[in-house]
Amino acid sequence: MTAPFTEDLRGRIADIVARYPERRAALLPVLHLVQKERGFIGPEDEIAVARVCGLRPVEVREALTFYTMFRRRPAGRHVLQVCTNLSCTLRGGERILDHIRMTLGIEPGRTTPDGRITLVEVECLGACDHGPCLMIDDVLHGELTGDKVEALLREISRP
């Protein structure tokens, strides 16, 4: 069970809804906000979001499962998204992903046992000129090398 939305969160959601001619258009921004606040979108959150957007819970589920950025389960403290699309692959993106996989001992889609890092393999982050690249949470890191990746992993693995 997740806790109900706080008054502050409800206020911010209302602000978002007010920006649209129709309430349901606020669905994606509201889901982004809820995920940011709570780390993921739980079943109770889906129901609460449905209510504010004037939707049935199944319509929220339907949309949310379509978009890869939304999570229905808790993620690690940091989310590591590694691009292996063509431009990044041409610059060694596959090797970078392998390096991370080995170092963390997990496959893409998984979280380290200590709950710190979730690893995700993604398609194109729109930074092909900086390939190979990855994102840690909402920050982009490009021109990756083995050393650079090691340093980044050390930084986010620190307690």
């Binding site: 889901l31 194109c124 390939g131």
Partner: protein, 411 residues
């Protein structure tokens, strides 16, 4: 000669603040249009400039605006397509990062020309930081009377709402973008009706790419003739060519429409990485048909690339070197399309995943003599049989690769 227009201020610290933008002539085009031009005159100027859409399809922007009914009750909308997702494309990221006010001024001009009072910027979810900066620029502009009610005392009003996507390539397709903005799964609509008649919330809607809109201030300020002079007949202006892959200096290069592909790669992007030889080039984002090393003297404009059997697309140039097996390229491309198919149309949903399965088996070393023919057959079954261009986009690269690199892929 410098060919820079959109990016001439990119050397300054990013992003360009409102003060700097104003000091260098910013919002002068909006001032000019709102004070001394009719909406119809703005539209005529843009039509005359032959500004072709920079998102991928290359449709003339002024003509697209002209499809919106002149009269009629109720609201109409502008949707800015900032869902840059075509692999190999990152030019809109540059524009958003460096010059958010240039985009906002373009939005004002488009809105004014078409009689729109509400604009939505649909920006890809991964550009979270850029979305935040753009929102700041919107409030900054509003606080100076450049957006909102009664812009610059002209009586024209326009609000801009920044809306983040959530990780779905298909939402760059304009009707999928509308569905997504309305809070649905991003699945394309059957056309017609086109968005100009029935778009966002069922109202007339213009959808323009970021780079397309950033060209408007220049056109309004300097005129259609000036813009045509920057490019070529029928295809005005400059383009932001994004170069990535096996080159020395990956990046965005602003050059005239019709610049030679060879020059972009070897002069501007610094040529191939040391010790590597050019093997192939994808000229306009992943969906465009691959070109061999003997085809790179082509001019980068919509017509020349179409004549060469490929397309201008988003001008995202991916350069592939001789150390890369074409099977790897095929693998990356088919993985992408199988992942991103929205699942609505059967030929695409089933086709992309079957193609993927065959390629994965080939990658594992288990080959069958008719693999390539199977792939050609599967790709052919998607082409032209889907609601949106995704089916063609997924089929084209497979067919192109097999046609041009058959002997290597057979090996």
């Amino acid at each position: 000669m410098s060919e820079k227009n959109l990016t001439r201020f990119f050397a300054t610290a990013a992003p360009r603040a409102l003060e700097d933008y104003l000091r260098t002539g910013g919002y002068e085009a909006a001032r000019k249009a709102l004070s001394s031009m009719t909406p119809a005159a703005v539209m005529e100027e843009v039509k005359g400039a032959n500004l072709r859409g920079r998102g991928g399809a290359g449709f003339p922007a002024g003509v697209k605006w002209g499809f919106v009914p002149k009269s009629g009750e109720g609201p109409r909308y502008l949707c800015v397509n900032a869902d840059e997702g075509e692999p190999g494309t990152f030019k809109d990221r540059y524009l958003l990062a460096h010059d958010p006010h240039l985009l906002l001024e373009g939005i004002i001009l488009a809105g004014y020309a078409v009689g729109i009072r509400r604009a939505f910027v649909y920006i890809r979810g991964e550009y979270e930081e850029l979305a935040r900066r753009l929102e700041e620029a919107v409030s900054e502009a509003a606080s100076r009377g450049l957006l909102g009610e009664n812009i610059l005392g002209s009586g024209y009003s326009l609000s801009v709402c920044v809306h983040r996507g959530a990780g779905a390539y298909i939402c760059g397709e304009e009707t999928a973008l509308l569905e997504s903005l309305e809070g649905f799964r991003g699945q394309p609509r059957l056309k017609p009706p086109f968005p100009a008649a029935v778009g966002l919330f069922g109202k007339p809607t213009v959808i323009n790419n970021v780079e397309t809109l950033t060209n408007l201030p220049g056109i309004v300020l300097h005129g259609a003739e000036w813009f045509l002079g920057l490019g070529k007949l029928g295809d005005g202006g400059t383009r932001l060519y994004g170069v990535s892959g096996s080159v020395v200096r990956p990046g965005v290069y602003e050059l005239r429409v019709g610049a030679r592909l060879r020059d972009i790669i070897f002069t501007h992007a610094g040529g191939m990485l040391p010790g590597r030889i050019l093997k192939a080039v994808i000229p306009g984002g992943m969906s465009s048909t691959i070109l061999g090393p003997d085809e790179i003297d082509v001019a980068m404009d919509c017509e020349s690339l179409a004549a060469a059997g490929s397309m201008m697309g988003s001008a995202g140039i991916i350069v592939i070197d001789d150390s890369v097996p074409m099977l790897t390229v095929l693998d990356r491309i088919t993985k992408f399309y199988a992942h991103e198919s929205c699942g609505q149309c059967t030929p695409c949903r089933v086709g992309t995943s079957w193609i993927r399965k065959v390629v994965q088996r080939m990658m594992s070393g288990e080959r069958r003599p008719d693999d390539l023919d199977t792939l050609v057959r599967l790709a052919g079954m998607m082409k032209g049989r889907t609601f949106c261009p995704f089916g063609d986009a997924a089929a084209g690269p497979v067919l192109g690769l097999i046609e041009k690199f058959r002997s290597e892929l057979e090996g």
